[in-house]
C-alpha cells in the first residue's frame, strides 16, 4: 500500500547524495586485476514498475530499472552541475550560447542489434516536446526550440534563451529507439507492448518479466563499454510488504533493499560495524523532505471568489482574504517554534533525518545552511508570539482563544504514509502544549491532491516533496503558480519572484548562489511552510558486491561496475542465466 501511495508523492526528478555510508568496518581492498565477471544481484522492491518505457513510466521502481536498460547523452556527476559522456562522446556550446552540438558514439548498439544513431536522438527529443504524450520531464525541454541531426553522429540542440542549465535541459531523458517506436501513435505509447519489452542501449536488457513477481535483467553482451557489465544478471524481486522484504534480506534471499525501516537499519548498522553481518548499510541524503504548509488564504473566501470571478479574472489575487489563523506571520512563527523537529525525527525516523529550516534541498549546490533564518524549538517564545497576535486563554480551558473563537484547526496528510501519520500525532501533542487544538486528518491521496489542494479547502497540510535535480522553486512559491495545486499555500511575493527569476537566469554560479541565499532567507523568515526534516536514505547491499558506488544520486548509478570475488559467491550467483 505504502508503495502505491508513494506514487502520489509528486516529486521533482532529481538526484543526489552524500557519501557518508555509516560504515566504520575495515574492508579488504581490491585492485583492477582482481575484478572478475559473473554473478547475480537480487534486488528486493515493494512495487512493480509501471512499464519500462522511459517516456511513460512514473514510478521510482520503473525509473531505477530504466536506468539500467537505457542510456542518456550524458550523465550528471556527483556535484550535480557537471556531466560525464554517455551516448555523446563530447559536446560544444555555440558562441552565442544558444545551441549545443553533441558528437555521438558510433559503436553503440540497441539490445536488438540495431545501430544507435542521431535519428534516435532527434526522435526522442520530438517525443519529449509532444504535448499529447505528457512526458513528465517536459519542463526541461521548454527552452529548447529544436534538435537537428547534422549527420549520423552529430546532433545540435537550439535554445530560445540563455540559461545556466542548457546542457542539463538538453541531456535530460533517456534515448529511445526510433526504429521500434516511430510506428506507434503517441496516444498508444503508454499501452504499447513496448513498455513490457523495452529495448535500450544500457548495460542490461530485460529478459523476463513475471507480473507482480519478478523482473530479470540480463547482461547485454553488446554494451559499448568494454568488459561491462560485470554481473550476469540483476533480478528484481517484488515483495509488496516492506517487513516481509526486510526479513528476506536478513535471510539472505535478497541482496539489495532500499527504505529499510529506520529501527531495523540502526540495528543492522550496529551489527555491521561489529563485524557480525555481511549486509552493508548505506545511509545518505535522499531526495525527500517533509514540511507543513500553512494555507495563507481563507478557504471559504477563495471558493466564493473563484465562483464569482472565475480564474481568469485579473483582479483575482486582490480579492483573496488572508487565512483567519495562518494569515498572520506571528502565528506561523509561533507554530514553527512550537514544533520540536528533533523529537519528531527521533520517533518517526529513529534519528535518520536532518532538521530542515528553509526551502533549498540539502543536496542541491545552492544549499547554504547559514542562509536560513532558524526558528529553534521554543515553547515560551511561541506563547509570547501567540499572545502578541492576540491569542490568550481567557476561559482557562487550556486552549487559546481570541474574540470568542478558539485556536483550533485540522492538519491533513495523505493516507498510506505511516511516517506522516506518526509525525501528525506528535505535532498534535506539541501544539497542545502551547494551547492550540490541532486535529489530524488523513485523506486518500486522490482526494487530497485531486480536490483539496486545488480548491485550497484546507487549513494546513503535512506533506513531502521529492527533490528534482534542477534548482527550481517556481511551482511551489512563484506568484505565477498561485492557482496550481503545488502552490497550495497560495504564497505570493514580488521579492521572491524577482529573486528567483534572477537566480534562474544567472550563469555565474557565485551570483546565482547569492540570489538563492536571498530566497532561503526570505522564505524561512516568512514561513509559508514550516520545514521539518530532510530524510536520509536507508539502503542495504550485501557485502560480496565490490565496486559499489552510492551517493546522493542514489544506489543505481554504477551497477554495471559491480562485481563479486569468486570466493564470496553465493547461491544467488549460480542462478541459471535465462
Amino acid at each position: 500500500m505504502v508503495r502505491v501511495l508513494f506514487i502520489f508523492l509528486f516529486l521533482f526528478i532529481s538526484c543526489d547524495k552524500n557519501d557518508n555510508s555509516s560504515s566504520q568496518r575495515v574492508e579488504k581492498t581490491y585492485s583492477e586485476e582482481d575484478i572478475v565477471n559473473g554473478g547475480n544481484l537480487i534486488i528486493g522492491t515493494t512495487g512493480e514498475p509501471d512499464g519500462l518505457n522511459p517516456l511513460t513510466a512514473h514510478t521510482k521502481n520503473a525509473k531505477d530499472a530504466i536506468s539500467l536498460i537505457y542510456r542518456r547523452l550524458a550523465d550528471l556527476n556527483e556535484d550535480l552541475t557537471t556531466f560525464s559522456p554517455q551516448l555523446a562522446k563530447s559536446w560544444e556550446f555555440s558562441k552565442d550560447s544558444l545551441s549545443i552540438l553533441f558528437n555521438l558514439r558510433t559503436d553503440v548498439k540497441w539490445h536488438d542489434g540495431e545501430v544507435f544513431n542521431s535519428e534516435d536522438v532527434v526522435f526522442t527529443f520530438n517525443l519529449h516536446k509532444n504535448d499529447l504524450l505528457g512526458w513528465e520531464g517536459y519542463s526541461f525541454k521548454e527552452n529548447i526550440q529544436s534538435a537537428v541531426a547534422r549527420n549520423d553522429s552529430t546532433v545540435i540542440f537550439y535554445f530560445s534563451e540563455k540559461s545556466p542549465t542548457l546542457l542539463m535541459d538538453a541531456v535530460e531523458g533517456y534515448i529511445i529507439p526510433e526504429h521500434l517506436l516511430s510506428k506507434i501513435p503517441v496516444e498508444e505509447m503508454e499501452s504499447s507492448t513496448y513498455s513490457r519489452n523495452p529495448i535500450g542501449t544500457g548495460p542490461f536488457r530485460l529478459s523476463e518479466w513475471k507480473s507482480q513477481q519478478s523482473l530479470t535483467l540480463s547482461k547485454f553482451s553488446g554494451y559499448y563499454e568494454e568488459g561491462k557489465p560485470r554481473l550476469d544478471a540483476i533480478v528484481i524481486q517484488i515483495i509488496p510488504d516492506n517487513i516481509n522484504l526486510y526479513r528476506q534480506v536478513l535471510g539472505g534471499d535478497i541482496d539489495f533493499m532500499e527504505n529499510v525501516p529506520p529501527g531495523d537499519f540502526n540495528k543492522l548498522s550496529k551489527q555491521w560495524n561489529e563485524g557480525n553481518s555481511n549486509i552493508k548499510p548505506y545511509n545518505f541524503l535522499g531526495r525527500g523532505y517533509e514540511f507543513i504548509g500553512w494555507n495563507l488564504i481563507d478557504p471559504e473566501n477563495y471558493s466564493q471568489v473563484m465562483e464569482a470571478a472565475g480564474d481568469n479574472d485579473p483582479n483575482l489575487e486582490e480579492l483573496l482574504k488572508p487565512h483567519k489563523l495562518f494569515g498572520s506571520w506571528k502565528v506561523r512563527a509561533a507554530l514553527t517554534m512550537a514544533i520540536d523537529r528533533n523529537t519528531i525525527i527521533d520517533v518517526v525516523t529513529n534519528g535518520l533525518a536532518i532538521p530542515m529550516h528553509g526551502p533549498i534541498p540539502l543536496i542541491m549546490w545552492a544549499y547554504d545552511p547559514n542562509a536560513n533564518s532558524i526558528w529553534e524549538y521554543d515553547v515560551e517564545g511561541a506563547k509570547e508570539f501567540l499572545g502578541d497576535a492576540g491569542w490568550k486563554d481567557t476561559d482557562g480551558d487550556g486552549i487559546l482563544d481570541k474574540d470568542g473563537t478558539i485556536f483550533s484547526f485540522e492538519m491533513v496528510t495523505n493516507a498510506g504514509n505511516e511516517e506522516r501519520k506518526q509525525a501528525l500525532t506528535i505535532i498534535q501533542q506539541q501544539l497542545l502544549e502551547v494551547g492550540i487544538e490541532m486535529t489530524p486528518r488523513v485523506f486518500e491521496p486522490a482526494l487530497l491532491f485531486g480536490r483539496m489542494l486545488p480548491s485550497r479547502n484546507l487549513d494546513a497540510a503535512l506533506l513531502g516533496w521529492s527533490v528534482g535535480l534542477k534548482m527550481e522553486l517556481t511551482p511551489l512559491f512563484h506568484s505565477s503558480s498561485i492557482f496550481i495545486p503545488f502552490n497550495f499555500v497560495s504564497y505570493r511575493s514580488q521579492e521572491f519572484d524577482d529573486l528567483e527569476n534572477a537566480a534562474k537566469r544567472e550563469t555565474r554560479q557565485a551570483i546565482a548562489q547569492k540570489h538563492w541565499n536571498g530566497i532561503a532567507k526570505l522564505l524561512s523568515w516568512e514561513l509559508p511552510y514550516s520545514w521539518l526534516y530532510y530524510k536520509t536514505e536507508t539502503t542495504v547491499i550485501h557485502s560480496r558486491f565490490k565496486g559499489v558506488k552510492v551517493d546522493k544520486r542514489g544506489a543505481f548509478i554504477n551497477m554495471e561496475e559491480w562485481w563479486i570475488p569468486f570466493e564470496e559467491r553465493s547461491d544467488h550467483d549460480m542462478l541459471a542465466e535465462n
Binding site: 521533482f12 504535448d131 505528457g134 499501452s191 524481486q237 510488504d241 526479513r247 486522490a446
Partner: protein, 325 residues
Amino acid sequence: MLAYSIRRLITALLTLFLGVSLTFFVIRLAPGDPTDRFLTPSMSPKVKAAITEKLGLNEPLPIQYMTWVKNVIIDFDFGDSFANGRKASTVIMDALPYTLLLSTLSLLFGLLLGTVSGVYSALRVGTPVDRAITSILMFFYSVPSFWLGLILLGIFSIELNWLPGSQITSIFHERLSFFGKIGDYAAHLILPVLTLGLTTAPVYGRFVRSSMVEVLNSDFIVSARARGLSERKIVFNYGLRNALLPLISILGTSFPALFSGAVIVEVIYSLPGMGRVMVDAALGRDYPIIMAASAVAFVAVIIGNFLADIGYAVADPRVRLGDSS
C-alpha cells in the same frame, strides 16, 4: 432443463450487467481524479489536459459509460490500466490464476476439514469429543483471518524459517526440476491455504454437523438401524449423502466470501493475485482495472451460484426425476 438453463443464463447476464454498471457509476462519482497520479510540480495545465483527454476522462459520464460498454461487448476490451498502460484484461489474467489456485485449494481444504470434523462430531453428539470439535470450530470461526495469517507467518516463516512467507515462487524456481517446481509452489502456498482454509472450514463444519445430526435422527435412519444395517453403511450411504446435499447450495454462496478472504490473505503473504491488484487499483483510482476486476468478481459469484444449482440438481434424485418428467 434447457429452457430453465437459458432463463438462468439470461438472469445471470442481466445481474452481471447491472452489477458492473452500478460499480461503474459508483466509482466514477467518487471523489478523486486518476490524472493526479501523473502530476509533477512542473507539469503544465496543457499537459494535464492532454492526459485527461487521452484517458477519455473529459467526456460526460454517460458517454464514457457507453464507450466502455461498447468496447467491452464488441472487443472484449476493458481498457488500459491508468497505472501502467497494460490491458486491464491482461493484468487480470496474470493475477487471476493465483487467486483461483489459492481459493480452490483453500476451499477443498476447508471443505475436507469441515466435512470430516462435522461428521465426526455429529456421530458423537453430546460427548466431550463433540464439544471439543465444536469449540475448535468456533475458535477458527471467530479468529480474524489477518490475525491468524500474521501469527502463522510469524511462527513458521519468520521465527522458525520453515516456510516462505511471501511470493508464489522462490528465486531459484527456474532451475528446479518439474517436481521441484511443484514443491516450490506448494511450499509457498501452505501458509496462505492454511490461513484461508482454517477460517473457512468452520462454516462447513458447523453446517455439516447440524444437518448430519438432523439426518441421523430421521425416521429412515432409525428404521435402517432397526433393520440391522452396518453402522458404516448407515453413516456413509444413508446419512452422509443426505446431509451433504444442502452443503452444495451453501458452497455456491460462499464463493464471494472466499474471494474477499483471498484478498486479505494475498496481501499478508504478498501473493501476486487479484487481492493486490484490487487493493492497488482501489487506491490508485485505476478505473479500467477496477471495472475489469469487479466484472471478474461478479462472474465468479454468478458461476458459483450456477454451479451450486447444477450440482444440486445432479445430486438430488428428486430433482433429476422432475427433470425427466
